[in-house]
Symmetry: C2
């Protein structure tokens, strides 16, 4: 991989002044087009149906602190963990997702449900502030005895993110106060000071939740605690070794063998390869990006850059999926990207969106927001069905028809994760600072934004991602000078740009993938962008051997796949002739409307095959039309085989 | 698949008279060439080193019945099974393998070790004849309570095979008598009679061991018991359901969900798809072939034929490996043949050899012996290193360098299985009956055979499998009339045959892949066979999608692979141009000498690749020489990447 060009050393002050801040998600309204229907479905279908699932599946029963706990519905795993250990995280994440939706669409019924959960949590909270339903009800004596395996702070982190979001949406402080007490307890228990535990949860999450809390409270202890957890990670002697010995266990018996599983094999600033559990990695890196933002510590950003290079250069699926292996829910070795057995957990793709979005705030570089866009249109969105209430946990890139979206999962972490991404989607579209407005995403929408004390109304008119023409119109009370930075998508070879009809050369004006126009803007100024969207064949690095000899089809930011239901044969039999034309067509009837790709392919037919699997003559190839559909739409119709990487004849 | 041509209905009597009998393994001596070194290594290195491993790893301690059992070295799995449950099977199989070697090479040291094991078994055997070291020492109360999971009879079956082989090799009856008592106990406990359990072990094995015992004892009860186990399998209500309920368990909690895992989902005569655990399947089918032989029951042979068609038409690796999945150690769905994650357990390939060899005795058809040959040169032989003391359990067809042969395994079933195949290899070369001598395999060797009362000495001179010329010479005391049936390998397109210099058209004289010459043979008669061995590119059925667009190289019966150590790059980057010439060359220095294949390929080089895994330009292809080596020799040199199915450019 080429190394990143060295920027001139920047002082903490200049770095701080260059930071962008994401807009409030509620300030952006998707007024039509692609995201309007997805986000509306999330609010109207996903949020209520997830509450019903949580209720039906007994997740909320864990909050009946006054009653004896019900029998365990799911067994304890060899690691000592059960799914019930972290039920708190699931309704925590649901509250967070629901809260984002509530901010612009208050809903007394949903709020009543959340308030009920909050009251139960408050009731169950221990006198010292400790709050985790599993340990309080079932194993109070095991509190803080196994941070390596039992997700204790992970659960609290999700409750905390829920509390911050609910406070932001409703102004109700109750949940926030409960969680601040819980964090006070953690501050009393953990830290570098003598008498406290120098420990950190193996499943990262609370770190980024603490930064969110700090942004509400501005209490430096909240930021310090996050910093402590991140800095302490991977220090020697390993806390998990000591902790295991205190439990009377041999640290060598650790089921995952190495703390790389939790990115705790070495201090975070020494890490340069993305390893272990994919969701954990993305949550940690998101927290590192948050701290780099808050503290302007360049070493954390540099570690993030190295890890990002490793991810996109060697470990990322073309869909933005990541973490190929089920055995560790994570990474294996560079270029190991199996398609049919891809784990590529929805949560990991969602969290890659979190991370890249955070990185772009301190370093406005389309490398990051390009990947945010990739997961939004592909590897994360594939995790939820078009109906808003069926899901994928694993996002495979090939199927022989055995994959089905499910209504609920044994480990239902993904549904609430994709839900919170969708209900807060507006925040990803723009970032601002006093004198700059950055446009990361293109989507039919209106936004009401503040640049410092200035107020800007911005309307995007576009059929994106089905069409690459975008019209931005500014509504301003007074002429206002600021820099408008527009992302030129990395997939686009030849963007065109006009301001009030005047052409600007986007290449000359582009820095790190953003074209910047600094001027005094006036009301009704209009910017037009054109991103031509030819159908492209993508080739994988030669060491991504599962894709060798194959192509993936992409148009704009959307990656395509071929489904059996569209071609009348299994896509694994198809071969695309090199150079054969593939045409896009908008199909209004396909699951709400989508651009499909069509062309001529060849089919390897087994008609004349003998009873033996192998023969010395190549298979006969016969012509067949094919159609490809957006990957994120797969498995919404008749079940069947699917393939992203098509053989090139 | 084409159906098999219908033979004219045969009576049991004509079927019985057509049966062939494999020759005694000890009657064939590999006097040089390919198998001489492999079988000598098995005898001189593998057998003694396996005893040392069994001893070092504590397997033999389970026989110290007078002492309290040692702490469990390996945990009990969720199924209730631990590796220790079936340690008996491992030394049983080792005794069997050692005994084959002993027959022509008596060895007091090895015999003393076996006798010691036998005495301990005799000492531990319970008064009622029951014999299983796990249950006697650790869980006597659980005897015969869980045939679904605990391998109780599987272990006894392997002890029985060992006892039969040891008796045959040495004439010592002690072990045989111990095992006959154990079988008497099983006859008292299981069977169709009132008061007995209508049960059968989920892991087949004892069935074929009982047939071997019957062939020694001619006690009809031994054959009847095998027949009962095979016939009872899959009958409803399922015994395993009843048995689980007796243990207070819900049958629905069965960890493998369906009895197809053990081929017990339906009666064996109704089965037509090969399902479940691959070794179990092959052992069952071997027993079915044995019973078809002994009882001349056509329904069992017909079931075998259907299952064989399914296996070779839809489920067999090109190496003869089988059972693609680790999760059930077995079969998944037709055409699911992943290369890098191939489970393809050595035991399963060995047992496919057992099955196909048995089928050929009642139905002399090269379809069966072709597959025997395939596993011998490929998917079974790959399970043992050239040094005779390192092994593979899984026989992958692709590696990125992560695979290493091991000295011993957590579940060491494979080493003794490949050992018993090699030390008894002679039996697979010929079969006879009163008036026929069938030659299944070609190998430098001498043999002393009986056709009824006639004595025939046969010498093969050949460099097979490196060269396809074979000279057979007969030594006869008197002119003798019999049918000589010579297998024309299925891979051979144009065989040539002469008898004493006179050409015979092998096509005209061939039935089901065997060319038969009936005449009065005289001393020094010479048969010459020539099987041209061009390098062939094999293509897989279009639905074997992992191999689409790829070729495997085969020459004669030997399948090839490319190893990183030979090409200086990972083979996954190589592409073979269609039609490009590939030349064989005998390399005397390669691991004892082997034919390698060499030619020009293209390498997809990543030199100019950017930091992104994907791009719109295809990879640059540059010329590179390549070399392929026999698959069975892989992973005997520097570790590295390997590939059988090479991309065709």
């Amino acid at each position: 991989m080429p190394s990143r060009p060295n920027a001139a050393p920047a002082t903490a002050e200049t770095r701080a002044s260059q930071r962008l801040v994401p807009v409030d998600h509620a300030s952006v309204a998707f007024t039509g087009g692609f995201w309007e229907s997805w986000t509306r479905t999330a609010r109207e279908v996903t949020i209520p149906s997830q509450y019903r699932r949580l209720d039906e599946e007994g997740f909320l029963e864990v909050l009946d602190f006054g009653k004896p706990p019900s029998p365990l519905a799911r067994p304890i795993q060899p690691s000592g963990l059960s799914m019930q250990h972290f039920f708190d995280s699931d309704f925590g994440k649901w509250i967070e997702a629901a809260s984002y939706a509530l901010k612009n669409h208050r809903d007394p019924e949903i709020e009543a449900k959340i308030d009920e959960i909050v009251e139960k949590l408050a009731e169950g909270q221990m006198a010292d502030g400790y709050l985790n339903s599993w340990f309080i009800r079932r194993e109070p004596e095991k509190r803080w005895t196994n941070l390596r395996d039992l997700h204790e702070m992970y659960s609290m982190g999700h409750l905390l993110e829920g509390a911050v979001a609910y406070f932001d949406a409703t102004g109700k402080r109750r949940f926030l106060d409960v969680m601040i007490r819980a964090i006070d307890h953690i501050i009393d228990t953990f830290g570098p000071e003598p008498g406290k535990l120098r420990a950190y949860d193996a499943h990262e999450e609370i770190e980024l939740a603490l930064v969110k809390l700090y942004r509400v409270t501005r209490d430096p202890r909240h930021l310090s605690l996050a910093t402590f957890f991140v800095d302490e990670r991977g220090q020697r002697p390993f806390y998990y070794d000591e902790e295991a010995r205190r439990r009377g266990e041999d640290p060598a018996d650790y089921v995952y063998k190495t703390y790389a599983y939790s990115q705790a094999h070495k201090p975070v600033r020494e890490q340069s390869e993305v390893v272990g559990h994919a969701v954990r990695a993305m949550y940690l890196f998101s927290a590192m990006a948050d701290l780099a933002f808050e503290t302007c510590d360049p070493s954390l950003k540099e570690a993030c850059d190295r890890l990002f290079d490793d991810l996109v250069g060697r470990q990322l699926y073309v869909t933005g999926g990541l973490g190929p292996s089920a055995s560790n829910e994570g990474f294996t070795r560079p270029f190991d990207l199996p398609n049919e057995t891809a784990y590529a957990e929805t949560c990991a793709a969602v969290a890659l969106g979190f991370w890249t979005h955070r990185l772009a705030q301190t370093d406005l570089d389309a490398r990051f927001t390009d990947r945010l866009e990739t997961v939004l249109y592909n590897g994360a969105l594939s995790g939820i069905a078009r109906d808003g209430e069926h899901y994928f946990y694993e996002n495979v890139l090939e199927s022989h028809g055995q994959h089905r979206r499910w209504k609920w999962h044994y480990c239902p972490c993904c549904p609430t994760n994709i839900a919170r991404l969708l209900t807060s989607l507006g925040q990803y579209v723009y970032s601002t600072r006093d004198d700059e407005l950055a446009v990361h995403l293109y989507a039919e929408s209106t936004a009401e934004l503040s640049l410092g004390t200035r107020f800007v109304r911005l309307r995007q008119e576009t059929l994106y991602p089905w069409d690459g023409d975008v019209r931005l119109r500014l509504t301003l009370e007074d002429p206002t000078s600021f820099k408008l930075s527009l992302r030129i998508p990395g997939w686009c070879r030849k963007a065109e740009l006009t301001v009030n009809g005047e052409t600007i050369d986007p290449v000359a004006a582009t820095t790190k993938g953003y074209v910047s126009i600094t001027r005094t803007w006036t009301n009704d100024d209009e910017i037009r962008l054109s991103f031509p969207m030819p159908v492209e064949r993508l080739y994988a690095h030669p060491d991504a051997s599962e894709d060798a000899g194959r192509v993936a089809l992409r148009r704009g930011p959307v990656v395509y796949c071929v489904e059996e239901v569209d071609v009348g044969t299994v896509p694994q039999r198809l071969r695309l002739a090199a150079g054969a034309s593939i045409e896009p067509r908008f199909d209004p009837d396909l699951l709400g409307g989508a651009v499909v790709l069509e062309g001529d392919a060849l089919e390897a037919v087994p008609d004349a095959w003998s009873g033996d699997l192998y023969r010395t003559e190549p298979p006969v190839l016969t012509p067949r039309r094919f159609k490809a559909v957006p990957y994120h739409l797969w498995a919404n119709r008749d079940p069947g085989a699917m393939q992203v990487w098509l053989l090139e004849a």
